[in-house]
């Protein structure tokens, strides 16, 4: 292949969701001289940003303050967030959301024409911008349609990135399979941004779409970058049983309540404050009851389950989310998607019935270790969005911070990768070719190896089963070690994976196998991190170590891939600026505390 045919850009973005598109636009807008490539395994508008529902947090109203948003985020994170990063995040958020507004995002409005905000879990004030309950959909399509205007952006739609190309200590591109032809090709670049989203698909029951398999984490991890805080898995308290489809937190923000099989608002028993009557004008109260943080609500479900206070159905136990008292008009104007989903997939109309819900894996706080500039430890490699861990989310992300994270850190990654590309030499193609050949050989082995007897779907099922068993809402040393052992065994078995499909064009069987390989890789890192964090913090709850241990674990875990392919976990101090670790209180005790700190 001649040099002319080589695919080459200044900045290469892997992932076409919210963070990747925001990064690409940042480069295109601020550095029109740079050429940008976006590699995405699906057409960008299919990316899972599309499924985010409730909204996007940023301080815009006069009664709100950056200080409050910062405090909510840090206490929500159980003090594991880096405070310098949170401060920057909160400061930059409003500008980024206004930018989205100027790019056409159809935010819901107040009568005055200003954007409207709604309450959300763990937030002391109403600061969540929303576009009905399809916020992610509108954000993604606004970004995608906006990016179409930049001639400097070349899209590689339905290309699957398989490996980072690294030489001379810096990242210089990736290899990717073009699904339409099955060809594996190198795409060279001066700097690379990974924005491939989360990896909820390592669990059996998740709100995440099929594409969320953590490919970007795995390729960064294999390139020697650490995965940070992998043990923190967010269960969203309200998913539909069976499908795992998300019923947005906005349903509680608008006043929806959770009830057990006795009809009780059981959250009152879990230190989340006192329930107000539904007709009380102060309902729903912020940072109280149903507007507590997601980790606490999900944990409360398990406790209710143990007490026998949950309903049981064909897809496991559940409780009721009741929004009937909001009335049809409010549901249709504020929560139309909730009604659509509950009707289509739950078979019930929330205007007249309660919605069955249970906790479901939703979001990964952990990810590729980046600093506040979205840079990784590998020069030329940046990461943003759910695949990255800065960390602003710590041990538990607050609802409506993740979409904001996409644009704040997407834009930062774009700007910094552009600056890096300006100063960098072109990729050393000659020296990288052997890596491309090796990668081609690796994939050909998977594609062509003679019958080994293992099916992708079976290995995947075994992986998700063991993840739920050992790394679910409550964890033990024994359980995690068992999961770790099972995962190691699954990696062995993956060596004998036997594809049904050995053709080139749209070989989704091969892609599934590669995704499985990546998921096994990062699942092991997750299990090792969960094993080594012998405390309970936020979403990571160890029944054998039930307390938070700031003396030993006010630290981020960092999993590095060892020479033998197994993860090695170390720890790094959390950045504390102004908010020393405190007790994480919600409900009435929180109100009392807030009153004393303000006085």
């Amino acid at each position: 292949m001649s040099a002319v045919d080589q695919l080459q850009h200044d900045v290469l973005v892997i992932g076409g969701g919210g963070a990747g598109l925001r990064a690409a636009i940042a480069v295109a807008q601020e550095h029109p001289d740079l050429s940008i490539g976006i590699v995405s395994k699906v057409y960008p508008m299919r990316s899972h940003t599309v499924a985010a529902e409730g909204g996007m947090a940023a301080v815009i109203k006069d009664n709100d303050s950056a200080e409050d948003h910062i405090y909510d985020t840090i206490s929500g994170s159980d003090w594991l967030a880096d405070q310098d990063a949170v401060e920057m995040f909160v400061e930059e958020a409003p500008r980024e959301l206004i930018q989205l507004e100027h790019w056409g995002c159809p935010w819901s409005r107040e009568a005055t024409g200003h954007v409207a905000v709604r309450p959300f879990g763990g937030m002391k004030l109403q600061r969540t911008w929303f576009a009905t309950d399809k916020t992610g959909f509108h954000v993604l399509h606004s970004l995608f349609q906006t990016c179409l205007q930049f001639p400097s952006i070349t899209r590689y739609d339905e290309w699957f990135a398989t490996k980072l190309l690294v030489d001379d200590g810096r990242c210089q591109g990736c290899t990717a399979i073009e699904l339409r032809t099955g060809q594996l090709r190198p795409i060279y670049a001066k700097s690379v941004i990974i924005a491939t989203g989360g990896f909820g698909r390592i669990f059996p029951f998740t709100t995440n779409g099929a594409i969320k398999t953590g490919d970007g984490l795995a390729i960064a991890y294999r390139a020697g970058v650490a995965l940070k805080d992998m043990e923190f898995v967010q269960y969203h308290p309200t998913g539909l049983p069976g499908t795992g489809i998300l019923i947005t937190e906005a349903s509680r923000g608008e006043g929806g309540v959770l009830r057990n099989n006795k009809g009780e608002r059981y959250l009152a028993d879990y230190d989340l404050g006192e329930p107000l009557p539904l007709d009380d004008p102060r309902h729903p109260q912020l940072r109280t009851m149903e507007l507590g943080p997601r980790d606490r609500l999900s944990q409360a479900f398990i406790k209710e389950q143990e007490k026998g206070n949950t309903y049981s159905g064909p897809y496991g136990d559940y409780v009721h989310l009741d929004i009937q008292h909001l009335g049809e008009h409010r549901i249709d104007t504020k929560l139309p998607f909730v009604r659509e989903l509950a009707r289509n997939y739950g078979g019930i109309d929330p205007v007249t019935e309660s919605i069955p819900v249970r906790p479901v894996v939703h979001y990964m706080m952990g990810g590729i270790d980046t600093d506040i500039e979205a840079a990784t430890s590998l020069p030329g490699l940046y990461a943003a969005g759910e695949c990255a861990c800065v960390s602003i989310n710590g041990a538990n992300r607050l609802g409506s911070n993740s979409l904001t994270e996409l644009v704040v850190f997407g834009a930062r990654a774009g700007r910094n990768a552009a600056n890096f590309a300006h100063a960098a030499d072109p990729a050393a193609i000659d020296r990288l070719e052997s890596q491309v050949d090796d990668e081609r050989a690796r994939i050909r082995r998977i594609l062509e190896q003679p019958s080994g007897g293992e099916r992708v779907a079976e290995l995947r099922r075994d992986m998700t089963t063991t993840m739920e068993e050992g790394a679910g809402i409550y964890r033990t040393q024994e359980g995690i070690e068992q999961t770790y052992a099972t995962l190691s065994d699954l990696r062995e078995r993956f060596g004998s994976v036997d594809l049904d499909d050995r053709t080139n064009v749209y070989n989704t069987d091969l892609i599934s196998a590669l995704e499985l390989d990546y998921m096994l890789e990062i699942s092991l890192a997750l299990a090792a991190s969960a094993r080594d964090r012998t405390e309970s913090r936020g979403s990571h709850q160890r029944t054998d170590h039930p307390d938070r241990d700031d003396d030993h674990f006010l630290k981020h875990s960092l999993a590095m891939r060892g020479d033998d392919g197994t993860p090695e976990v170390s720890f790094r101090d959390v950045v504390i600026t102004k908010w020393p670790p405190g007790s994480r209180t919600y409900g009435s005790s929180d109100q009392a505390k807030a009153a004393t700190t303000e006085s």
Partner: protein, 136 residues
């Protein structure tokens, strides 16, 4: 993984018989086909006007032609098509015009009903006029 790869998409379309594939398509096809009949009727009327200025025998011959059984069937089919076209077209108006009052789009019925009302009034007036002319 490398080298030339065969990609050879096949195109599949609804084809020229698309209008037979769904009742909704067939209805649209009939709606559009109705214009042929209505056009022929317009020509027939124009010829009628022309014949009115010709010798009476010519005029009478043309009237006889219009009243022959085949033409009567054609007239009946034409009026059925005209009714279908009118009915379906009136019902499409709400999709074509989006008027918003007090923040809500005005209901389709409010756009459709006046058309049918006006249609009924005009038809009534014509029948009355024909009856009046016939009686006078």
């Amino acid at each position: 993984m490398d080298g030339e790869v065969l990609t050879q998409p096949v195109f599949r379309s609804l084809g020229w018989t698309w209008w037979t594939k769904r009742p909704s398509y067939a209805l649209v096809f009939l709606r559009e086909t109705s214009s042929v009949f209505i056009a022929v009727q317009v020509v027939l009327v124009l010829v009628l006007l022309h014949k009115a200025g010709q010798p009476a025998a010519d005029y009478q011959a043309y009237l006889d032609f219009l009243w022959n059984p085949g033409m009567v069937v054609f007239h009946v089919v034409s009026i059925a098509f005209a009714l279908l076209h009118t009915y379906t077209w009136f019902n499409l108006l709400p999709q074509t015009i989006a008027i918003r009052v007090m923040g809500r789009r005005i209901p389709g019925l409010l756009l459709v009903a006046p058309q049918f009302g006006a249609w009924a009034v005009v038809t009534g007036l014509i029948i009355a006029w024909v009856w009046w002319v016939g009686a006078g």
